[in-house]
C-alpha cells in the first residue's frame, strides 16, 4: 500500500495515530462516554472489548465524527479536530481521508456492483481516474480473496464476502488508520473466520487498526493491546495476555468469565 508504508520507530513515538483526551458523548440524557482518554500508536493493533452498551462502538465512531462528542480533544495523525465548534467541510474531508471504517452491517451500496463500490469513492473523493481506481480495486479484491467477484452485486454475496468487500473498499482510500466496528458480529461463525483471516493479514502488514469486537481469540492472538470498556469508561488496558489472564478489576473478571464460559 502506498501510504501505509512502515513508519520508523522514531516517527511512531512522535505522532500517535489517534489521540483522545477527555471525550464526552451524550445521547439525550444518557452519558455514553464519560471523559474517555486513549492513545493509539501508528502501526498498533488495538482490540476493544466490553459488554454491549459499554460505549466502545460510540468511541470508535467519535474518531471519524460519525458521533459528535460534546467535549474533549481529538487528534488524528497530528490533525486536531475541533469539537467545540461546527467543523468545516474541508477539515472533515481531511479527517475522513485518514480514517477508514468497516461496519458491523457492511453497508455496501446494494445498487452498485462490487467493483463500482470500491471505485466510486476513489474517483469522487481521491479524484483517481477510472483506470487507476479499477486497478487498485482489483488488486485489493485479490488481496481479500474475491478477485472473481468484481462484477457481482453485493446482494449475491455471503455476509463474509460482503464484509471482505467492505474492507477492500475502505483500504482503497489509503487510510492511515482503519476502524472496525464489530466486523464479525452480523456473521455466522464460519463466515466470521474468513473476515478475521483478512484482518489478521492486514495486522501483520503493519496497518494501524482499532477493532471493536467480541472475538476474544482474535483479540488475544492479533492485538498488540486490549482495551476493556464498560459504562462509558475504560476499565483497564494492556498486553492481551496480561489483561485476559490476570484482569485487575472485578467488572472485567465478570465480563471475561461470561465470554469464556459460552
Amino acid at each position: 500500500m502506498t501510504t501505509s508504508n512502515p513508519l520508523t520507530p522514531e516517527q511512531e513515538t512522535a505522532t500517535p495515530a489517534v489521540e483522545l483526551d477527555g471525550i464526552r458523548l451524550r445521547y439525550g440524557n444518557h452519558l455514553a462516554l464519560k471523559d474517555v482518554s486513549l492513545e493509539l500508536a501508528a502501526g498498533e493493533v488495538m482490540a476493544m472489548i466490553g459488554p454491549s452498551g459499554s460505549g466502545k462502538s460510540s468511541l470508535l465512531r467519535c474518531i471519524n465524527l460519525l458521533e459528535r462528542p460534546e467535549s474533549g480533544i481529538l487528534r488524528v495523525f497530528g490533525q486536531s479536530v475541533p469539537l467545540e465548534r461546527e467543523i468545516a467541510a474541508k477539515e472533515l474531508a481531511q479527517l475522513r481521508r485518514k480514517v477508514g471504517m468497516v461496519f458491523q452491517s457492511f453497508n455496501l451500496f446494494p445498487h452498485l456492483p462490487v467493483l463500482r463500490n470500491i471505485t466510486l469513492p476513489q474517483e469522487r473523493v481521491l479524484k483517481r481516474s477510472r483506470d487507476e481506481a479499477e486497478a487498485r480495486a482489483r488488486e485489493l479484491l485479490e488481496r481479500v480473496g474475491l478477485g472473481d467477484k468484481a462484477d457481482a452485486y453485493p446482494g449475491k454475496l455471503s455476509g463474509g464476502q460482503q464484509q471482505r468487500v467492505a474492507i477492500a473498499r475502505a483500504l482503497a482510500m489509503d487510510p492511515r488508520v482503519l476502524l472496525f466496528d464489530e466486523p464479525t458480529s452480523a456473521l455466522d461463525p464460519e463466515l466470521g473466520i474468513e473476515v478475521l483471516a483478512v484482518m489478521r493479514d492486514l495486522a501483520e502488514t503493519g496497518v494501524t487498526m482499532m477493532v471493536v469486537t467480541h472475538e476474544i481469540h482474535f483479540a488475544a492472538d492479533v492485538a498488540d493491546r486490549i482495551v476493556v470498556m464498560a459504562d462509558g469508561q475504560i476499565l483497564e488496558q494492556g498486553d492481551p495476555d496480561q489483561v485476559l489472564t490476570d484482569p485487575q478489576t472485578e467488572r472485567t473478571q465478570r465480563f471475561l468469565r461470561a465470554v469464556k464460559d459460552r
Binding site: L66, V99, N107, P110, P121, V125, G155, A170, M173
Partner: protein, 218 residues
C-alpha cells in the same frame, strides 16, 4: 348489433385520436412533473430550514388543490396575468404542477428509505453530500419509488380526462362531442370508458408485476 358495431367503427378514428392526445399530454406532464417532484424531494432533504419549509409548502399547496382547479386556473385564470397558454400547453402545465407535488411525496419516501448505514458508510469514505445524493441516495430512492410512480402515472392518465373542460380534444372531449351530435351518449361514453380501461388495466398488471419483482430483489 351489426348496426351498433358499424357505429362504433365510425367513431373509432376520432376516439383513437383523442386517446393518443390523452397519452401525449399525460406523458409530457409525467416527464416534466417527475423531474419537478425529484427537485422538490431533494430540497426537502436540505439542511437549510427555509428551503425545507418552502418545499413542503409548495408540495402541500400542489397536493391540496384539485387537478380540475389547477387546470381551470392555468387556462382561464393565468391569461389575466398575461400568460396565455393554448389547450395542450395549459393542460400539460397544470398536470405537471400536480404531478410534481404528488411525486415529490412519493420520491421523498423513496429517498428516506435508503438505509442509514449506507449514508454513514458514504460519509466515512469521505464522499461529499452532493455526491452521496447523486450516486447513492437518488439512484436507490428512485428505484424504490418506481412502483408508486407507476401507480401514480396510471392515475394521471385518468386525470388527463379533465382537460376536456378546457377544450383539449382528448378522448373524453371526442366522446362527448360525438354524443352531443347523435345523442348516443351512453354508447359512445361507454366505448370511451372501455378505451380508458384498455390502458389502465394492463398498466395495473404491469405495475403489480414490477412491484413483485422488486420486492423479490430486496
Amino acid at each position: 348489433m351489426t348496426e351498433m358495431l358499424n357505429m362504433v367503427g365510425q367513431w373509432m378514428p376520432r376516439l383513437l385520436d383523442g386517446l393518443w392526445l390523452s397519452l401525449q399530454v399525460t406523458g409530457v406532464s409525467l416527464v416534466l412533473g417527475i423531474a419537478g417532484g425529484l427537485a422538490l424531494a431533494v430540497l426537502a432533504l436540505s439542511r437549510k430550514r427555509p428551503v425545507r419549509i418552502l418545499s413542503t409548502v409548495v408540495t402541500e399547496i400542489g397536493r391540496g388543490t384539485p387537478a380540475l382547479v389547477m387546470l381551470q386556473f392555468v387556462y382561464f385564470g393565468l391569461p389575466q396575468t398575461g400568460i396565455m397558454l393554448e389547450g395542450f400547453a395549459a393542460a400539460a402545465t397544470a398536470l405537471t404542477l400536480t404531478t410534481a407535488a404528488y411525486t415529490s411525496e412519493i420520491i421523498r419516501a423513496g429517498l428516506k428509505s435508503v438505509p442509514q448505514g449506507e449514508l454513514e458508510a458514504s460519509s466515512a469514505l469521505g464522499i461529499s453530500r452532493r455526491d452521496s445524493l447523486r450516486f447513492i441516495i437518488i439512484p436507490q430512492g428512485m428505484r424504490i419509488a418506481i412502483p408508486s410512480l407507476l401507480g401514480f402515472s396510471i392515475l394521471m392518465f385518468q386525470v388527463s380526462s379533465l382537460a376536456f373542460t378546457i377544450g383539449l380534444p382528448e378522448l373524453l372531449s371526442q366522446a362527448y362531442s360525438i354524443g352531443a351530435s347523435n345523442f348516443r351518449y351512453l354508447e359512445v361514453l361507454t366505448v370511451a370508458g372501455l378505451l380508458y380501461l384498455a390502458v389502465t388495466i394492463p398498466a395495473g398488471w404491469f405495475t403489480r408485476r414490477v412491484e413483485r419483482k422488486m420486492s423479490q430483489h430486496l
